[in-house]
Amino acid sequence: MKKSYLYIASALLALTAFTSCDGDQVLPPMVVPTATIEANTTIAELKDMYWSTDANYVNTIGTREADGEHIIIKGRVCSSDESGNIYKSLMIEDGTAALTVAINAYDLYESYHFGQEVIIDVTDMQIGGYNGLMQLGGEGTYNSKPSMTFMSEDVMTAHAQVNGLGRPQDVDTVTTTIPTLATAKTTPEGLRNWQSRLIRIDNVQFEDAGKPFAGESTTNRYVVDADGNRINVRNSSYADFKNDILPAGYGSIVGILSYYGSDWQILLIDASGCVDFNSVDVPVFSVASGNVEEGTKVAISCATEGAAIYYTTDGSTPSATNGTLYTDPIEILETTTIKAIAVKEGQTDSPVVTATYVTATAATSVNQNFDAETAIPADWSQVQIEGTKTWYVTTYNNNNYAAMTGYKGTAPFDSWLISPAISASKLSKKTLNFSTQVNGYSSTTSVFEVYVLSSNDVKTATKTQLNPTLATAPASGYSSWTDSGNVDLSAFTGTIYIGFRYYATTDSNYATWCLDNVVIE
């Protein structure tokens, strides 16, 4: 009896195991289209053969010169008319170049899938330009001249075969920048190389963010990069995303690089061509880049609520995983470059912004008689706001001094000689003293002025003009050296610079101003 149980149990187990092998269910095989012709020419070669600088022209494609064989090209479909933004066209690319194929039919995406290989026997087909865009199509007229238009669908069917299924991952998306494209369009090579390509431009924002992609008619929407370069994103009023709202913030644009007249226009395949536009707002520094006093505190803020700011000071690119999470203002103790990024869950990271702070070691006294110098000393600087004439160091009677003149130059002149940084509050006497000498040459417009500057960037610095005693030009020759007297600097704090300005507008002659024995103490 016991044995029986064992027999039953093992037999049951064995039979159940035998039964439970269901085997794999056989599915109908995939039907995949297969082309029977093979390419022998690249798109770049074809474009080269039939390129013309005319905006509008039509050529009938012949056979290969070498062997008389039909010209056959192959490319992957890198466009889709499913959204309606691209009209009666498809674009193919083969890595060497891309080509627009204009076909008088809708819903081309059903027969020619994005990423699908299309092989076209182009011999006897028409190739040419329509307002500068090279394309395969049919013959039409534009302004009474032959021009490209759409080919009938039958022509395409007769000449083209699809091969395999769509492989979107194999479509070549070329990442580029607006300046690159601006340069490319100036040469035929550039046009041939770039027209009809699927491109990507990173870090751009829509000028019209918040408006719809298109209005009642086809609408140009520009994107602009951080440097202010713009490119047109042209949206059809037939696009199914035309009422979608252009995203704010920075992101990337992916689309077909089309061309009309003399400029590029990007055709989005669909709204997903706007990539990662939900970026966090750019972080803002409380202090502008430039010279700062040691100990200056820089705050970083971001308008996006809840965004976290990460920054680095070692030059590396900050991210949520690299750098320091910003909490309190950063104290600048030495010359520092801060890179900052704002991040937020669910949104794309902001672009990285950079600020550089220079903590010039401000002097507590300056005593410069230029005698040891043959050129403007290294801790001094000079800036030419206008004109090309510069301050220089020269010698007379074994005395070296700095000088500036408009002589033999082209007016106007606005040339600054700037002292080293000075810690105003640390000066012992808080006075400025120097000597000047001037040769007037009958000039009437040449002026010498002295300022206290808040930074050595003259354009942006706060300027306070001083009123020292200056040399007066004699009728001819040089004046004698004139002491400025002790100019009071006690009104200033922080880091200051003394700027010596030579200024002149057009004149028959220009004065030469000489500066020596600058003492700040």
């Binding site: 049951l12 299924l165 979107p168």
Partner: protein, 921 residues
């Protein structure tokens, strides 16, 4: 007609040499039914010698010493029998030993309630054709089979996954399976299975039987020989909330009088004004007569006649959406209100009068049963037909809210409007009869101003789809014991069937007349005007009530079989082997020249004929009286069914290309144990059917035509394990477990031919990728656990729970073809693969659990006994049991939306009560 002569192979009969011992042989039969009792233990009480009886009830015991011995015969479900026998040298034949069944045998518990199973076991395909479900009939000695018979419902359960055509049903030795469709229509037994057709012998699977060759799915032989009925009166009244509500049955058996006459008469009536499904009704009455004249000791004649008209309105499978909208899983779309009264469009009428004459001869070890039978099958089912009018079916897809959902599947104003209509307006969710009449009246009004030639026909009619048959059958078989060890069974049978198929106008619904054209071909009218005509020789014929129209054809079929079988009974071995040869022919004869097939619709088709043979063998090794091993094997060919071979029989004579017989291989092996308290059997089986033909029909939107999809060269495999066990906890309390874990699968990728009835498109043949998909609509895993308590004072209790699972939707070949244009919609390999996978997925039905209760009480008075039975099926009122489901034939090739044409499915009812009061005297 050409009939081949068969030459039966003479089977060599091996005669094992026997030791010079004392041997006894005998046959154990059921004292009530006369059928053999197999599997009974025969024990020599004083020696350790036991054996079990074979399928014939036969046994053989030997003793090495002469002398008196006490023999005991034990079999579950029977009272034990014991007596003394005298062993003498040589062989002693004890003849028939009658075992008295115990009162608690299954038939008394469930018999009446199980009558229901035989009535309802019909499902429909997309075309509305009914598909048979094999019904099991119960057998005393097999726990698994018994449980399956009574408790593997309410999901439609096919034994071992086979179609009903693989199960043979005999009445008095004559096989009554329909030659055209292969199945036996259990409803032709009129619901009298528990009384008039009570006596039966069941053969499980490919085991041997003594009345016929049987089939892969087993066989049953109903025996109506008059003297088997216990004399007396037997009456019962039953109430149930099912297809019918009330049933009354009377049976009187006279017993044999002194002149050798005996008769049994029985009458039954079943009635429901409205069945459990709304809009259905049931009216059925039947009579049964068995009359016997015992001519002498060796010969008797038995005349059996039965038949009864049945009229009932039925429900059918529809969409889940409709069930959800109505909140009713028994929603029935086939009725509506007319003048405030419910009227069904789907009325089935049957009347199958049958007469059988048997001549029974028995002398010594030989019995011969010779029979002739005729049967007239009258079957019709009504349906609405329409032309140039809106589809009257409330579940037409444009009337369902889902049609108006937007592209993302979200509700729209229109879809919400339809939802509202469905939920509030009975004329939306049901047939709007008044509107159909109104439209027909408007036609009539318009006709008043038209000349006779211009008059328009009705827009709607109710038609009858008639499928009548005439069967003439003859059968004779012999059962003889050649020696102590060897017996032989052999038989010949012959069946002639004429199947007549046509439509008639049942009701013009107030219209003047109907024009006999094909509404489906209307759209082809400009291309092929003749296509419209169902009868090209009588174009645009006007038909009136009762007129035949649409199609009219016969299938004439003929089958002849001869079989021979040897059985060898040894103390430790029972062995049988046999061979059957058969000849089948059929031919279509059309009576209308159909405009869609003018050349091959009128007149006779080619005569198709098939020669087939089947070999089977089996062996039982009796390890001892308590343990045995059993194995069976069968290999053979079977002619395809006429129903599957003709591609579009309603239209034309065309058949599938090169129809061939299918080839089936089957084997099973069991271990059977039988201890005092614990008995059971564990069986493994494997069956491979090769070269099978399947055919389905559906309306194909793409081509605006009715389409037929015929699969040929199909290979299916059925394998599984069955376990049945019974344990007697106390003498009156026993627990029973029965379960199967099986896999019924397609095993190849057959050819499929799609044929268009409008004839505008050429037939296409393509590979259909089915390998390892499942044969649908039958659970492949089932388990039942039951407790029987035989309480004092003749109370009986049974409680059991049934789990049914792994049942799949009947699949449509269109979803398993290569789709040449699919890549245009799903461009990448991943998407394409995913879509192919999605389209091919075979939906699985929900697993079901039901709990059932039975209570019985018998009261024995002096001359009268009363019995009460209460069966409550599905006590937990589980209304989520899908009985069967099928995928629609057509595929949405514009969007490849898998849900565009959803599955059709039917649910089982919730709790079902059957209460029966019976009286006997």
């Amino acid at each position: 007609m050409r009939l081949k002569l068969f030459v039966l192979l003479l089977l060599a009969v091996t005669m094992p040499m026997l030791a010079q011992n004392a041997t006894i042989v005998g046959n154990v039969i059921n004292a009530n039914t006369g059928s053999p009792v197999s599997g009974a233990s025969v024990v020599l009480q004083n020696k350790d010698v036991t054996t079990t009886t074979d399928f014939n009830g036969g046994f053989r015991l030997k003793s090495d010493a002469a002398g008196s011995e006490y023999i005991t015969i034990i079999c579950d479900g029977f009272m034990s029998s014991g007596f003394d026998v005298n062993f003498i040298a040589g062989t002693t034949d004890l003849g028939e030993i009658r075992l008295q069944p115990t009162a608690d045998s299954a038939i008394d518990y469930y018999g009446d309630a199980s009558d229901l199973l035989f009535d309802e076991a019909v499902m429909e395909d997309e075309d509305g054709n009914s598909q048979g479900i094999s019904s099991l009939t119960g057998a005393n000695d097999d726990i698994y089979y018994n449980t399956a018979s009574y408790n593997f419902s309410p999901m439609y359960f096919n034994y071992r996954g086979y179609d009903s055509q693989y199960q043979s049903v005999y009445i008095n030795g004559i096989k009554f399976n329909d030659l055209v469709r292969g199945r036996f229509n259990f409803s032709s037994l009129l619901g009298m299975t528990s009384r008039a057709f009570r006596n039966k012998t069941t053969t499980i699977g490919i085991a041997a039987s003594n009345y016929g060759f049987g089939d892969l799915g087993g066989s049953v032989n109903y025996n109506t020989t008059t003297d088997l009925y216990a004399p007396g009166f037997n009456g019962s009244v039953s109430y149930t909330n099912s297809a019918y509500m009330l049933r009354g049955m009377l049976t009187y058996a006279s017993g044999v009088n002194k002149h050798g006459w005996a008769y049994t008469i029985s009458a039954i009536g079943r009635y429901a004004n409205e069945g459990v499904v709304e809009g259905t009704f049931y009216n059925s009455g039947g009579l049964f007569l068995s009359l016997e004249k015992i001519l002498n000791k060796n010969n008797s004649l038995v005349l059996t006649a039965f038949g009864g008209p049945t009229q009932r309105a039925t429900a059918g499978a529809t969409y889940q959406e409709a069930y959800d909208l109505t909140g009713d899983n028994l929603y029935n779309p086939f009725w509506g209100y007319q003048n405030g009264e419910k009227r069904s469009s789907r009325i089935t009428e049957t009347f199958d009068p049958t007469v059988i004459l048997n001549w029974l001869y028995k002398k010594g070890n030989t019995s011969v049963n010779t029979a002739a039978a005729v049967r007239w099958v009258n079957y019709s089912r009504s349906a609405l037909q329409y032309y140039k009018a809106n589809d009257p079916n409330p579940t037409y897809y444009r009337y369902l809210p889902s049609y108006y959902l937007d592209d993302d599947g979200n509700p729209t104003e229109q879809s919400e409007y339809y939802t509202h209509l469905w939920q509030t307006d009975v004329n939306t969710r049901q047939i709007n009869w008044d509107e159909l009449y109104q439209i027909n009246y408007l036609n009539n009004n318009q006709n008043l101003s038209l000349s006779d030639a211009d008059k328009k026909g009705s827009s709607y009619i109710l038609e009858n789809r008639v499928n009548n048959q005439f069967n003439a059958m003859f059968n004779s078989y012999v059962n003889t014991r050649l020696t102590d060890v060897v017996s032989l069974q052999a038989g010949v049978d012959f069946n002639y069937t004429k199947s007549s198929n046509y439509k008639t106008v049942r009701d013009l619904l107030g219209g003047e007349f109907w024009i006999d054209i094909d509404p489906f071909s209307d759209r082809d009218i400009t291309i092929a005007p003749d296509n419209l005509q169902n009868d090209l020789d009588n174009p645009n014929r006007r038909v009136y009530k009762g007129d035949k129209f649409g199609y009219n054809y016969d299938i004439n079929a003929l089958q002849a079989n001869a079989w021979l079988q040897n059985t060898i009974t040894l103390p430790h071995w029972d062995i049988n082997y046999g061979l059957k040869m058969s000849y089948t022919q059929f031919q279509r004869e059309g009576y209308m020249r159909n405009g869609r097939a003018p050349e091959n619709s009128l007149g006779k088709s080619a005569l198709l004929h098939f020669d087939d043979a089947t070999f089977k063998a089996g062996a039982t090794y009796k390890i001892n009286g308590r343990n045995q091993l059993v194995a069976h094997f069968e290999y053979g060919s079977r002619a395809p069914l006429a129903d599957n071979v003709f591609i579009a029989p309603r239209v034309k004579n065309t058949t599938i290309e090169n129809p061939e017989s299918e080839r089936d291989l089957s084997f099973d092996a069991s271990y059977v144990w039988s201890y005092r308290r614990f008995r059971g059997a564990l069986t493994g089986f494997y069956t491979a059917m090769n070269n099978v033909v399947e055919r389905t029909g559906f309306y194909d939107d793409r081509y605006n035509t009715y389409a037929i999809y015929a699969l040929s060269g199909v290979k299916r495999a059925y394998r599984g394990v069955e376990l049945g066990m019974s344990y007697k906890i106390t003498p009156s309390l026993s627990a029973t477990f029965a379960g199967t874990y099986s896999r019924y699968q397609y095993k190849n990728n057959p050819k499929g031919t799609r044929s268009f009835e409008n004839g505008l498109y050429a037939d296409t043949t393509q590979t259909v990728y089915l390998k390892n998909f499942y044969v649908g609509s039958t659970p492949q895993v089932q388990a039942n656990l039951g407790l029987d308590y035989q309480a004092p004072k003749n109370w009986f209790f049974n409680v059991n729970g049934t789990f049914q699972g792994d049942s799949y939707v009947n699949l449509s070949p269109a979803y398993h073809e290569e789709l040449a244009d699919l890549w245009q919609k799903y461009s990448t390999e991943e998407e394409l693969k995913a879509k192919i996978e999605e389209l091919s997925t075979q939906d699985k039905l929900k697993n079901a659990f039901t709990l059932n209760l039975s209570i019985g009480k018998a009261i024995y008075l002096r001359k009268v006994s009363l019995n009460f039975n209460l069966n409550i099926n599905n006590v937990l009122n589980n209304k989520n049991v899908v009985t069967y489901a099928y995928q629609q034939g057509r595929l949405d090739t514009s969007n490849y939306d898998r849900n565009a044409y959803p599955n059709r499915l039917q649910y089982a009812q919730g709790v079902r009560v059957f209460f029966n009061v019976g009286v006997r005297f």
